[in-house]
Protein backbone atom coordinates (compact mmCIF):
# COMPACT_ATOMS: atom_id res chain seq x y z
CA UNK A 1 0.00 0.00 0.00
CA UNK A 2 1.54 3.35 -0.96
CA UNK A 3 1.74 6.22 1.47
CA UNK A 4 -0.88 8.14 -0.48
CA UNK A 5 -3.37 5.37 -0.10
CA UNK A 6 -3.14 5.40 3.65
CA UNK A 7 -5.90 7.78 4.39
CA UNK A 8 -5.95 10.01 7.39
CA UNK A 9 -8.99 9.49 9.62
CA UNK A 10 -11.74 11.74 8.30
CA UNK A 11 -12.08 15.17 9.74
CA UNK A 12 -9.45 14.56 12.36
CA UNK A 13 -6.63 16.90 13.23
CA UNK A 14 -7.13 20.55 12.60
CA UNK A 15 -10.30 20.78 14.63
CA UNK A 16 -8.73 19.61 17.77
CA UNK A 17 -5.18 20.80 17.51
CA UNK A 18 -5.28 24.10 15.63
CA UNK A 19 -6.03 27.32 17.40
CA UNK A 20 -9.64 28.47 17.35
CA UNK A 21 -10.29 30.71 14.37
CA UNK A 22 -12.70 33.66 14.53
CA UNK A 23 -14.90 32.05 11.86
CA UNK A 24 -15.11 28.86 13.91
CA UNK A 25 -16.01 30.78 17.03
CA UNK A 26 -18.68 32.83 15.26
CA UNK A 27 -20.12 29.66 13.69
CA UNK A 28 -20.20 27.99 17.08
CA UNK A 29 -22.08 30.88 18.67
CA UNK A 30 -24.52 31.36 15.76
CA UNK A 31 -25.04 27.61 15.32
CA UNK A 32 -25.79 26.98 18.97
CA UNK A 33 -28.09 30.01 19.05
CA UNK A 34 -30.06 28.42 16.20
CA UNK A 35 -30.06 25.05 17.99
CA UNK A 36 -31.44 26.68 21.15
CA UNK A 37 -34.05 28.51 19.04
CA UNK A 38 -35.07 25.19 17.47
CA UNK A 39 -35.28 23.40 20.81
CA UNK A 40 -37.37 26.26 22.18
CA UNK A 41 -39.65 26.08 19.16
CA UNK A 42 -40.05 22.32 19.60
CA UNK A 43 -40.86 22.57 23.28
CA UNK A 44 -43.30 25.45 22.76
CA UNK A 45 -45.05 23.67 19.91
CA UNK A 46 -46.81 20.78 21.61
CA UNK A 47 -47.94 19.21 18.34
CA UNK A 48 -44.33 18.25 17.68
CA UNK A 49 -44.47 16.05 20.82
CA UNK A 50 -41.06 17.23 22.15
CA UNK A 51 -40.17 14.31 24.47
CA UNK A 52 -40.93 11.74 21.77
CA UNK A 53 -39.12 13.79 19.15
CA UNK A 54 -35.96 14.28 21.22
CA UNK A 55 -35.90 10.60 22.14
CA UNK A 56 -36.16 9.75 18.46
CA UNK A 57 -33.34 12.12 17.50
CA UNK A 58 -31.00 10.53 20.03
CA UNK A 59 -32.13 7.00 19.12
CA UNK A 60 -31.29 7.63 15.47
CA UNK A 61 -27.70 8.44 16.49
CA UNK A 62 -27.50 5.23 18.46
CA UNK A 63 -29.02 3.18 15.64
CA UNK A 64 -26.50 4.63 13.18
CA UNK A 65 -23.44 4.15 15.38
CA UNK A 66 -24.32 0.90 17.10
CA UNK A 67 -26.32 -0.94 14.46
CA UNK A 68 -25.99 0.37 10.91
CA UNK A 69 -22.23 0.98 10.94
CA UNK A 70 -21.32 -2.44 12.44
CA UNK A 71 -23.66 -4.24 10.04
CA UNK A 72 -22.27 -2.39 7.00
CA UNK A 73 -18.75 -2.97 8.28
CA UNK A 74 -19.42 -6.69 8.64
CA UNK A 75 -20.98 -7.00 5.19
CA UNK A 76 -18.16 -4.96 3.68
CA UNK A 77 -15.51 -7.18 5.25
CA UNK A 78 -17.30 -10.31 4.07
CA UNK A 79 -17.52 -9.00 0.51
CA UNK A 80 -13.87 -8.02 0.44
CA UNK A 81 -12.66 -11.28 1.95
CA UNK A 82 -14.94 -13.82 0.26
CA UNK A 83 -15.38 -12.53 -3.29
CA UNK A 84 -12.71 -12.62 -5.98
CA UNK A 85 -11.15 -9.19 -6.39
CA UNK A 86 -12.73 -8.64 -9.83
CA UNK A 87 -16.20 -8.98 -8.30
CA UNK A 88 -15.73 -6.76 -5.26
CA UNK A 89 -16.44 -3.40 -6.92
CA UNK A 90 -19.59 -4.67 -8.60
CA UNK A 91 -20.80 -6.23 -5.36
CA UNK A 92 -20.16 -3.03 -3.39
CA UNK A 93 -22.00 -0.91 -5.97
CA UNK A 94 -24.87 -3.39 -6.09
CA UNK A 95 -25.24 -3.76 -2.34
CA UNK A 96 -25.09 -0.03 -1.65
CA UNK A 97 -27.57 0.91 -4.37
CA UNK A 98 -29.92 -1.98 -3.55
CA UNK A 99 -29.95 -1.08 0.14
CA UNK A 100 -30.79 2.53 -0.69
CA UNK A 101 -33.64 1.51 -3.01
CA UNK A 102 -35.13 -0.94 -0.48
CA UNK A 103 -34.88 1.61 2.34
CA UNK A 104 -36.58 4.22 0.18
CA UNK A 105 -39.34 1.87 -0.95
CA UNK A 106 -39.86 0.31 2.48
CA UNK A 107 -43.10 2.18 3.35
CA UNK A 108 -44.52 1.32 -0.07
CA UNK A 109 -43.53 -2.32 0.30
CA UNK A 110 -45.23 -2.51 3.68
CA UNK A 111 -48.22 -0.66 2.19
CA UNK A 112 -48.38 1.39 5.37
CA UNK A 113 -49.80 4.43 3.62
CA UNK A 114 -52.73 2.42 2.31
CA UNK A 115 -55.44 3.97 4.48
CA UNK A 116 -54.45 7.44 3.33
CA UNK A 117 -54.24 6.27 -0.24
CA UNK A 118 -57.80 5.16 -0.49
CA UNK A 119 -59.86 6.21 -3.47
CA UNK A 120 -59.30 6.51 -7.18
CA UNK A 121 -55.89 8.14 -6.87
CA UNK A 122 -54.23 5.00 -5.64
CA UNK A 123 -51.90 3.69 -8.30
CA UNK A 124 -52.54 0.12 -9.44
CA UNK A 125 -48.95 -0.86 -8.65
CA UNK A 126 -47.56 -3.94 -7.04
CA UNK A 127 -44.63 -2.14 -5.42
CA UNK A 128 -42.83 -5.35 -4.48
CA UNK A 129 -42.87 -6.27 -8.15
CA UNK A 130 -41.54 -2.81 -9.07
CA UNK A 131 -38.76 -3.02 -6.48
CA UNK A 132 -37.70 -6.36 -7.94
CA UNK A 133 -37.51 -4.75 -11.36
CA UNK A 134 -35.31 -1.94 -10.06
CA UNK A 135 -33.07 -4.39 -8.16
CA UNK A 136 -32.87 -6.55 -11.27
CA UNK A 137 -31.72 -3.57 -13.32
CA UNK A 138 -29.13 -2.64 -10.69
CA UNK A 139 -27.67 -6.14 -10.54
CA UNK A 140 -27.71 -6.45 -14.32
CA UNK A 141 -25.50 -3.36 -14.52
CA UNK A 142 -23.33 -4.74 -11.71
CA UNK A 143 -23.03 -8.05 -13.53
CA UNK A 144 -21.82 -6.26 -16.65
CA UNK A 145 -19.33 -4.33 -14.52
CA UNK A 146 -18.06 -7.53 -12.94
CA UNK A 147 -17.62 -9.24 -16.32
CA UNK A 148 -15.83 -6.19 -17.65
CA UNK A 149 -13.59 -6.16 -14.61
CA UNK A 150 -12.84 -9.86 -14.99
CA UNK A 151 -11.98 -9.48 -18.68
CA UNK A 152 -9.68 -6.55 -17.99
CA UNK A 153 -8.04 -8.53 -15.22
CA UNK A 154 -7.63 -11.52 -17.54
CA UNK A 155 -6.14 -9.28 -20.22
CA UNK A 156 -3.50 -8.22 -17.72
CA UNK A 157 -4.60 -4.65 -17.00
Amino acid sequence: MSTDERSSPPDAGPVSTARVRPFQLISLIVGWAIIVFALHGMVRNRSSNPPHLLRLLISLNVVNDALVIPVVLGVSLLVRRLLPSWAVVAAQVGLFTSAIVVLYAYPLLGDWGRTARAGFSRLPYDYAHNVWWVLGAIWLVCGVLAVWQWRRRSAGY
Binding site: E5, P10, T17, W32, F37, N49, V93, A116, N130, W133
Partner: protein
Amino acid sequence: MASPPEPASGTRRTTIATARAKAEGTSASLQGKVTSPLHSTWLGAVLGIVLGVAFTLCFVTGLVDYLSQHPPGWFHLPAHPADLYRINEGVHVFTGIATIPLLLAKLWVVWPELLQWPPVHNLLHALERLSLVPLVGGSLFLLFTGVANIDYWYSPMGFTFTSAHFWTAWLVVGALVVHIGAKAATVRTELGRKSHRPEALDAGAASSAHPSPRSLTGTRRLDPLGGLNRRGFLGTVMGAGGLLVAVSVGETVAPLRRLAILAPRGVGVGPQGVPVNETALQAGVTRSAVDPNYRLVVSGRCRRPRSFSVFDLRALPQQVSALPITCVEGWSADAVWRGVPLASFLDLVEAPKGASIRVESLEGADRLYSMSVVDAEHARDPDTLLALELNGETLDIDHGYPVRLIAPDRPGVLQTKWICKVIVL
Protein backbone atom coordinates in the same frame (compact mmCIF):
# COMPACT_ATOMS: atom_id res chain seq x y z
CA MET B 1 -2.13 4.94 58.93
CA ALA B 2 -3.42 7.30 56.26
CA SER B 3 -1.09 7.93 53.34
CA PRO B 4 0.08 11.47 52.81
CA PRO B 5 -2.06 13.30 50.25
CA GLU B 6 0.68 14.12 47.73
CA PRO B 7 1.85 10.62 46.87
CA ALA B 8 -1.79 9.45 46.59
CA SER B 9 -2.52 12.24 44.20
CA GLY B 10 0.65 11.39 42.32
CA THR B 11 -0.39 7.73 42.06
CA ARG B 12 -3.81 8.75 40.82
CA ARG B 13 -2.22 10.99 38.23
CA THR B 14 0.02 8.16 37.09
CA THR B 15 -2.93 5.78 36.85
CA ILE B 16 -4.91 8.31 34.84
CA ALA B 17 -1.96 9.01 32.57
CA THR B 18 -1.44 5.29 32.01
CA ALA B 19 -5.12 4.75 31.23
CA ARG B 20 -5.11 7.70 28.87
CA ALA B 21 -2.01 6.47 27.08
CA LYS B 22 -3.57 3.02 26.78
CA ALA B 23 -6.80 4.48 25.38
CA GLU B 24 -4.84 6.61 22.90
CA GLY B 25 -2.83 3.56 21.90
CA THR B 26 -5.98 1.50 21.34
CA SER B 27 -7.55 4.35 19.39
CA ALA B 28 -4.46 4.76 17.21
CA SER B 29 -4.26 1.01 16.68
CA LEU B 30 -7.92 0.81 15.60
CA GLN B 31 -7.56 3.84 13.34
CA GLY B 32 -4.48 2.24 11.82
CA LYS B 33 -6.60 -0.73 10.80
CA VAL B 34 -8.89 1.52 8.76
CA THR B 35 -7.05 1.26 5.47
CA SER B 36 -9.91 1.71 3.01
CA PRO B 37 -9.40 4.79 0.84
CA LEU B 38 -13.09 5.56 1.34
CA HIS B 39 -12.52 6.75 4.90
CA SER B 40 -10.55 9.76 3.84
CA THR B 41 -10.73 13.39 4.76
CA TRP B 42 -10.85 14.33 1.07
CA LEU B 43 -13.94 12.20 0.42
CA GLY B 44 -15.55 13.43 3.65
CA ALA B 45 -14.93 17.01 2.51
CA VAL B 46 -16.38 16.49 -0.97
CA LEU B 47 -19.48 14.71 0.36
CA GLY B 48 -19.79 17.38 3.06
CA ILE B 49 -19.88 20.16 0.49
CA VAL B 50 -22.49 18.41 -1.65
CA LEU B 51 -24.57 17.60 1.42
CA GLY B 52 -24.25 21.19 2.66
CA VAL B 53 -25.60 22.49 -0.65
CA ALA B 54 -28.41 19.90 -0.68
CA PHE B 55 -29.45 20.63 2.90
CA THR B 56 -29.36 24.38 2.32
CA LEU B 57 -31.55 23.97 -0.76
CA CYS B 58 -33.96 21.74 1.17
CA PHE B 59 -34.03 24.15 4.10
CA VAL B 60 -34.76 27.27 2.05
CA THR B 61 -37.45 25.59 -0.06
CA GLY B 62 -38.86 23.91 3.06
CA LEU B 63 -39.05 27.27 4.80
CA VAL B 64 -40.97 28.74 1.84
CA ASP B 65 -43.23 25.69 1.91
CA TYR B 66 -43.89 25.95 5.64
CA LEU B 67 -44.56 29.69 5.49
CA SER B 68 -46.91 29.14 2.56
CA GLN B 69 -48.86 26.58 4.57
CA HIS B 70 -48.84 28.57 7.81
CA PRO B 71 -48.64 32.12 6.50
CA PRO B 72 -47.63 34.70 9.08
CA GLY B 73 -48.77 38.26 8.44
CA TRP B 74 -45.50 39.26 6.76
CA PHE B 75 -45.18 36.49 4.19
CA HIS B 76 -47.03 35.16 1.21
CA LEU B 77 -45.81 33.80 -2.08
CA PRO B 78 -46.56 36.08 -5.02
CA ALA B 79 -49.44 34.84 -7.15
CA HIS B 80 -47.31 34.69 -10.33
CA PRO B 81 -45.62 32.91 -11.94
CA ALA B 82 -48.26 30.31 -11.18
CA ASP B 83 -45.73 27.45 -11.10
CA LEU B 84 -43.60 29.02 -8.37
CA TYR B 85 -44.93 26.91 -5.49
CA ARG B 86 -44.88 23.80 -7.65
CA ILE B 87 -41.20 24.30 -8.53
CA ASN B 88 -40.33 25.10 -4.91
CA GLU B 89 -42.04 21.93 -3.69
CA GLY B 90 -40.49 19.79 -6.41
CA VAL B 91 -36.99 21.05 -5.59
CA HIS B 92 -37.60 20.43 -1.88
CA VAL B 93 -38.91 16.88 -2.21
CA PHE B 94 -36.61 15.58 -4.93
CA THR B 95 -33.46 17.19 -3.51
CA GLY B 96 -34.39 15.52 -0.23
CA ILE B 97 -34.77 12.17 -1.97
CA ALA B 98 -31.42 12.54 -3.73
CA THR B 99 -29.84 13.38 -0.37
CA ILE B 100 -30.59 9.93 1.13
CA PRO B 101 -27.57 8.10 -0.36
CA LEU B 102 -25.40 11.18 0.14
CA LEU B 103 -26.10 11.28 3.86
CA LEU B 104 -25.64 7.55 4.37
CA ALA B 105 -22.39 7.66 2.40
CA LYS B 106 -21.11 10.57 4.45
CA LEU B 107 -21.93 8.76 7.71
CA TRP B 108 -20.07 5.72 6.41
CA VAL B 109 -17.04 7.72 5.33
CA VAL B 110 -16.64 9.50 8.66
CA TRP B 111 -17.43 6.65 11.06
CA PRO B 112 -13.75 6.16 12.11
CA GLU B 113 -14.15 9.57 13.76
CA LEU B 114 -15.90 7.62 16.52
CA LEU B 115 -12.53 6.08 17.36
CA GLN B 116 -10.92 9.44 18.03
CA TRP B 117 -9.31 9.64 21.47
CA PRO B 118 -9.61 11.67 23.57
CA PRO B 119 -13.13 12.36 22.27
CA VAL B 120 -12.94 16.02 23.29
CA HIS B 121 -10.00 18.37 23.81
CA ASN B 122 -11.60 21.47 25.26
CA LEU B 123 -14.95 23.16 25.80
CA LEU B 124 -15.27 24.48 22.25
CA HIS B 125 -14.39 21.10 20.83
CA ALA B 126 -16.95 19.52 23.18
CA LEU B 127 -19.63 21.90 21.90
CA GLU B 128 -18.70 21.09 18.33
CA ARG B 129 -18.81 17.34 19.01
CA LEU B 130 -22.10 17.70 20.88
CA SER B 131 -23.65 19.43 17.87
CA LEU B 132 -23.10 16.19 15.93
CA VAL B 133 -25.98 14.62 17.88
CA PRO B 134 -28.64 16.93 16.39
CA LEU B 135 -26.78 16.97 13.08
CA VAL B 136 -26.75 13.20 12.59
CA GLY B 137 -30.02 12.39 14.36
CA GLY B 138 -31.82 15.38 12.84
CA SER B 139 -30.63 14.69 9.30
CA LEU B 140 -31.73 11.06 9.49
CA PHE B 141 -35.02 12.17 11.03
CA LEU B 142 -35.70 14.70 8.26
CA LEU B 143 -35.07 12.18 5.50
CA PHE B 144 -37.02 9.42 7.23
CA THR B 145 -40.09 11.58 7.97
CA GLY B 146 -39.84 13.18 4.53
CA VAL B 147 -40.07 9.78 2.84
CA ALA B 148 -42.85 8.70 5.21
CA ASN B 149 -44.77 11.87 4.33
CA ILE B 150 -44.35 11.24 0.60
CA ASP B 151 -45.84 7.79 1.18
CA TYR B 152 -48.64 9.03 3.51
CA TRP B 153 -47.25 6.91 6.34
CA TYR B 154 -48.02 8.87 9.49
CA SER B 155 -48.75 6.11 11.99
CA PRO B 156 -45.18 5.76 13.37
CA MET B 157 -44.74 9.48 13.93
CA GLY B 158 -46.58 10.32 17.12
CA PHE B 159 -46.36 14.03 16.29
CA THR B 160 -47.62 16.46 13.69
CA PHE B 161 -45.38 15.97 10.69
CA THR B 162 -45.16 19.61 9.59
CA SER B 163 -44.17 21.13 12.93
CA ALA B 164 -41.74 18.32 13.86
CA HIS B 165 -40.12 18.44 10.40
CA PHE B 166 -39.93 22.25 10.55
CA TRP B 167 -38.30 22.53 13.99
CA THR B 168 -35.92 19.64 13.35
CA ALA B 169 -34.84 21.39 10.16
CA TRP B 170 -33.85 24.42 12.27
CA LEU B 171 -32.01 22.10 14.64
CA VAL B 172 -30.05 20.57 11.78
CA VAL B 173 -29.26 23.96 10.27
CA GLY B 174 -27.88 25.19 13.61
CA ALA B 175 -25.73 22.07 13.93
CA LEU B 176 -24.66 22.44 10.31
CA VAL B 177 -23.48 26.00 10.95
CA VAL B 178 -21.36 24.75 13.88
CA HIS B 179 -20.02 21.91 11.74
CA ILE B 180 -19.15 24.17 8.80
CA GLY B 181 -17.26 26.52 11.13
CA ALA B 182 -15.31 23.61 12.61
CA LYS B 183 -14.49 21.94 9.31
CA ALA B 184 -14.06 24.89 6.93
CA ALA B 185 -10.30 25.03 7.41
CA THR B 186 -9.94 21.25 7.01
CA VAL B 187 -12.05 21.24 3.85
CA ARG B 188 -10.08 24.13 2.36
CA THR B 189 -6.81 22.40 3.13
CA GLU B 190 -7.95 19.02 1.84
CA LEU B 191 -9.39 20.27 -1.42
CA GLY B 192 -6.34 22.43 -2.01
CA ARG B 193 -3.92 19.58 -1.39
CA LYS B 194 -3.00 18.15 -4.79
CA SER B 195 -1.72 14.88 -3.34
CA HIS B 196 -5.25 14.05 -2.11
CA ARG B 197 -6.97 14.44 -5.47
CA PRO B 198 -7.87 11.18 -7.19
CA GLU B 199 -5.70 12.06 -10.19
CA ALA B 200 -2.71 12.54 -7.94
CA LEU B 201 -3.42 9.31 -6.14
CA ASP B 202 -3.66 7.52 -9.47
CA ALA B 203 -0.33 8.98 -10.52
CA GLY B 204 1.17 8.00 -7.19
CA ALA B 205 -0.01 4.45 -7.58
CA ALA B 206 1.19 4.31 -11.16
CA SER B 207 4.68 5.40 -10.25
CA SER B 208 4.98 3.08 -7.31
CA ALA B 209 7.25 0.06 -7.45
CA HIS B 210 4.31 -2.34 -7.70
CA PRO B 211 1.69 -0.66 -9.82
CA SER B 212 -1.78 -1.96 -9.07
CA PRO B 213 -4.19 -3.00 -11.83
CA ARG B 214 -6.49 -0.48 -13.38
CA SER B 215 -10.04 -0.26 -12.08
CA LEU B 216 -13.29 0.05 -14.00
CA THR B 217 -13.16 3.81 -13.99
CA GLY B 218 -9.82 3.74 -15.72
CA THR B 219 -8.01 4.91 -12.63
CA ARG B 220 -5.46 2.95 -10.70
CA ARG B 221 -7.09 0.89 -8.00
CA LEU B 222 -6.05 1.97 -4.57
CA ASP B 223 -7.71 -0.59 -2.38
CA PRO B 224 -5.41 -3.58 -1.86
CA LEU B 225 -8.47 -5.84 -1.57
CA GLY B 226 -9.93 -4.63 -4.83
CA GLY B 227 -12.76 -2.47 -3.50
CA LEU B 228 -14.21 0.76 -4.76
CA ASN B 229 -11.89 3.72 -5.04
CA ARG B 230 -13.05 7.18 -4.06
CA ARG B 231 -14.06 8.26 -7.53
CA GLY B 232 -16.04 5.06 -7.99
CA PHE B 233 -17.69 5.52 -4.60
CA LEU B 234 -18.72 9.09 -5.45
CA GLY B 235 -20.11 7.87 -8.76
CA THR B 236 -22.09 5.14 -7.00
CA VAL B 237 -23.54 7.59 -4.48
CA MET B 238 -24.54 10.07 -7.19
CA GLY B 239 -25.95 7.22 -9.26
CA ALA B 240 -28.05 5.95 -6.37
CA GLY B 241 -29.42 9.46 -5.77
CA GLY B 242 -30.21 9.81 -9.47
CA LEU B 243 -31.95 6.43 -9.51
CA LEU B 244 -34.23 7.35 -6.58
CA VAL B 245 -35.18 10.59 -8.30
CA ALA B 246 -35.72 8.80 -11.61
CA VAL B 247 -38.21 6.31 -10.14
CA SER B 248 -40.25 8.98 -8.38
CA VAL B 249 -40.00 12.36 -10.15
CA GLY B 250 -42.60 11.28 -12.71
CA GLU B 251 -45.32 12.01 -10.15
CA THR B 252 -44.79 15.68 -10.94
CA VAL B 253 -42.93 15.74 -14.28
CA ALA B 254 -45.51 14.38 -16.72
CA PRO B 255 -43.11 13.19 -19.48
CA LEU B 256 -41.39 10.90 -16.93
CA ARG B 257 -44.60 9.46 -15.46
CA ARG B 258 -43.95 5.95 -16.81
CA LEU B 259 -40.70 5.83 -14.86
CA ALA B 260 -42.37 6.70 -11.54
CA ILE B 261 -42.71 3.10 -10.40
CA LEU B 262 -41.82 3.83 -6.77
CA ALA B 263 -44.08 6.86 -6.36
CA PRO B 264 -47.45 6.75 -4.57
CA ARG B 265 -49.15 9.14 -7.01
CA GLY B 266 -49.18 9.38 -10.76
CA VAL B 267 -49.87 12.17 -13.22
CA GLY B 268 -53.30 11.61 -14.72
CA VAL B 269 -54.41 9.02 -12.15
CA GLY B 270 -57.39 10.11 -10.07
CA PRO B 271 -60.92 11.39 -10.46
CA GLN B 272 -61.12 13.51 -13.63
CA GLY B 273 -57.44 12.76 -14.28
CA VAL B 274 -56.16 14.63 -11.23
CA PRO B 275 -55.02 12.90 -8.02
CA VAL B 276 -56.57 13.70 -4.63
CA ASN B 277 -55.21 13.08 -1.17
CA GLU B 278 -58.36 13.35 0.88
CA THR B 279 -61.55 11.85 -0.47
CA ALA B 280 -65.07 13.04 0.37
CA LEU B 281 -65.56 9.83 2.33
CA GLN B 282 -62.48 10.48 4.47
CA ALA B 283 -63.60 14.07 5.02
CA GLY B 284 -67.09 12.93 6.02
CA VAL B 285 -68.90 15.17 3.49
CA THR B 286 -70.51 12.63 1.20
CA ARG B 287 -74.01 13.71 2.29
CA SER B 288 -73.58 17.41 3.02
CA ALA B 289 -71.82 18.05 -0.30
CA VAL B 290 -74.79 16.79 -2.35
CA ASP B 291 -77.51 18.13 -0.05
CA PRO B 292 -80.12 20.03 -2.19
CA ASN B 293 -80.27 22.64 0.57
CA TYR B 294 -76.55 23.42 0.22
CA ARG B 295 -75.77 27.14 0.37
CA LEU B 296 -72.53 29.07 0.07
CA VAL B 297 -72.83 31.75 2.76
CA VAL B 298 -70.92 35.03 2.46
CA SER B 299 -70.47 37.11 5.59
CA GLY B 300 -68.01 39.37 7.37
CA ARG B 301 -66.79 42.79 6.25
CA CYS B 302 -68.96 43.16 3.13
CA ARG B 303 -71.96 45.38 2.37
CA ARG B 304 -74.14 42.68 0.84
CA PRO B 305 -73.76 39.46 2.77
CA ARG B 306 -75.86 36.72 1.20
CA SER B 307 -76.00 33.06 0.36
CA PHE B 308 -75.79 31.23 -2.97
CA SER B 309 -77.16 27.89 -4.11
CA VAL B 310 -75.23 25.83 -6.66
CA PHE B 311 -77.62 27.14 -9.35
CA ASP B 312 -76.96 30.74 -8.28
CA LEU B 313 -73.22 30.14 -8.59
CA ARG B 314 -73.62 28.57 -12.03
CA ALA B 315 -75.62 31.58 -13.15
CA LEU B 316 -72.78 33.97 -12.36
CA PRO B 317 -70.17 34.89 -15.05
CA GLN B 318 -67.68 32.05 -15.35
CA GLN B 319 -64.01 31.99 -16.25
CA VAL B 320 -61.44 29.34 -17.14
CA SER B 321 -58.04 29.14 -15.45
CA ALA B 322 -55.26 26.65 -16.21
CA LEU B 323 -53.56 26.17 -12.84
CA PRO B 324 -51.50 23.36 -11.37
CA ILE B 325 -52.44 21.74 -8.13
CA THR B 326 -49.45 20.89 -5.99
CA CYS B 327 -49.34 18.74 -2.91
CA VAL B 328 -46.81 18.88 -0.10
CA GLU B 329 -46.13 15.17 -0.65
CA GLY B 330 -44.40 16.10 -3.88
CA TRP B 331 -46.88 15.35 -6.63
CA SER B 332 -48.44 17.99 -8.84
CA ALA B 333 -50.75 18.03 -11.84
CA ASP B 334 -51.84 20.48 -14.51
CA ALA B 335 -55.57 21.10 -14.63
CA VAL B 336 -58.13 23.35 -16.29
CA TRP B 337 -60.64 24.85 -13.88
CA ARG B 338 -63.85 26.74 -14.57
CA GLY B 339 -65.81 28.78 -12.09
CA VAL B 340 -66.61 32.18 -10.66
CA PRO B 341 -63.63 34.56 -10.44
CA LEU B 342 -63.18 35.31 -6.75
CA ALA B 343 -62.47 38.99 -7.49
CA SER B 344 -65.81 39.54 -9.23
CA PHE B 345 -67.56 37.46 -6.56
CA LEU B 346 -66.14 39.78 -3.89
CA ASP B 347 -67.28 42.79 -5.92
CA LEU B 348 -70.76 41.27 -6.03
CA VAL B 349 -70.98 41.22 -2.24
CA GLU B 350 -69.25 44.63 -2.10
CA ALA B 351 -66.20 43.57 -0.14
CA PRO B 352 -63.41 46.14 0.31
CA LYS B 353 -60.67 45.92 -2.35
CA GLY B 354 -57.82 45.14 0.04
CA ALA B 355 -59.66 42.59 2.15
CA SER B 356 -58.41 39.08 2.82
CA ILE B 357 -60.99 36.31 3.06
CA ARG B 358 -61.38 33.07 4.93
CA VAL B 359 -62.98 30.08 3.26
CA GLU B 360 -64.43 27.27 5.33
CA SER B 361 -65.21 23.73 4.31
CA LEU B 362 -68.13 21.43 5.01
CA GLU B 363 -65.61 19.31 6.91
CA GLY B 364 -65.72 19.72 10.64
CA ALA B 365 -63.75 22.66 12.03
CA ASP B 366 -61.70 20.16 14.04
CA ARG B 367 -60.15 18.73 10.89
CA LEU B 368 -56.74 19.94 9.78
CA TYR B 369 -56.93 22.40 6.89
CA SER B 370 -60.72 22.60 6.91
CA MET B 371 -60.37 26.33 6.34
CA SER B 372 -57.82 28.69 4.84
CA VAL B 373 -57.15 32.40 4.57
CA VAL B 374 -56.69 33.96 1.14
CA ASP B 375 -54.63 37.15 1.23
CA ALA B 376 -55.77 40.20 -0.72
CA GLU B 377 -53.31 39.66 -3.60
CA HIS B 378 -54.48 36.11 -4.24
CA ALA B 379 -58.15 36.97 -3.62
CA ARG B 380 -58.02 39.66 -6.30
CA ASP B 381 -55.89 37.71 -8.75
CA PRO B 382 -57.78 37.15 -12.02
CA ASP B 383 -56.85 33.43 -12.00
CA THR B 384 -58.32 32.72 -8.57
CA LEU B 385 -61.65 30.93 -8.84
CA LEU B 386 -64.45 29.48 -6.84
CA ALA B 387 -64.20 26.46 -9.09
CA LEU B 388 -67.27 24.50 -10.18
CA GLU B 389 -65.73 22.43 -12.98
CA LEU B 390 -62.49 20.54 -13.58
CA ASN B 391 -61.17 19.50 -16.98
CA GLY B 392 -64.51 20.22 -18.65
CA GLU B 393 -66.75 18.36 -16.19
CA THR B 394 -68.62 19.24 -13.02
CA LEU B 395 -66.28 18.86 -10.05
CA ASP B 396 -66.06 15.32 -8.78
CA ILE B 397 -67.10 15.07 -5.14
CA ASP B 398 -63.52 14.04 -4.25
CA HIS B 399 -62.29 17.25 -5.86
CA GLY B 400 -64.57 19.41 -3.74
CA TYR B 401 -68.06 19.42 -5.30
CA PRO B 402 -70.04 21.65 -5.26
CA VAL B 403 -67.41 24.40 -5.06
CA ARG B 404 -63.73 24.64 -4.19
CA LEU B 405 -61.05 27.25 -4.14
CA ILE B 406 -58.30 27.25 -6.73
CA ALA B 407 -55.63 29.95 -6.73
CA PRO B 408 -52.12 30.25 -8.13
CA ASP B 409 -49.10 29.42 -5.94
CA ARG B 410 -50.84 27.92 -2.94
CA PRO B 411 -50.21 24.52 -1.38
CA GLY B 412 -52.85 21.93 -2.22
CA VAL B 413 -53.96 21.75 1.41
CA LEU B 414 -54.96 25.43 1.21
CA GLN B 415 -57.01 24.97 -1.98
CA THR B 416 -60.00 24.35 0.26
CA LYS B 417 -62.60 21.87 -1.01
CA TRP B 418 -66.35 21.66 -0.31
CA ILE B 419 -66.55 25.36 0.54
CA CYS B 420 -69.63 26.42 2.49
CA LYS B 421 -68.56 29.78 3.93
CA VAL B 422 -66.71 32.82 2.63
CA ILE B 423 -65.90 35.32 5.36
CA VAL B 424 -64.54 38.73 4.39
CA LEU B 425 -61.88 39.72 6.95
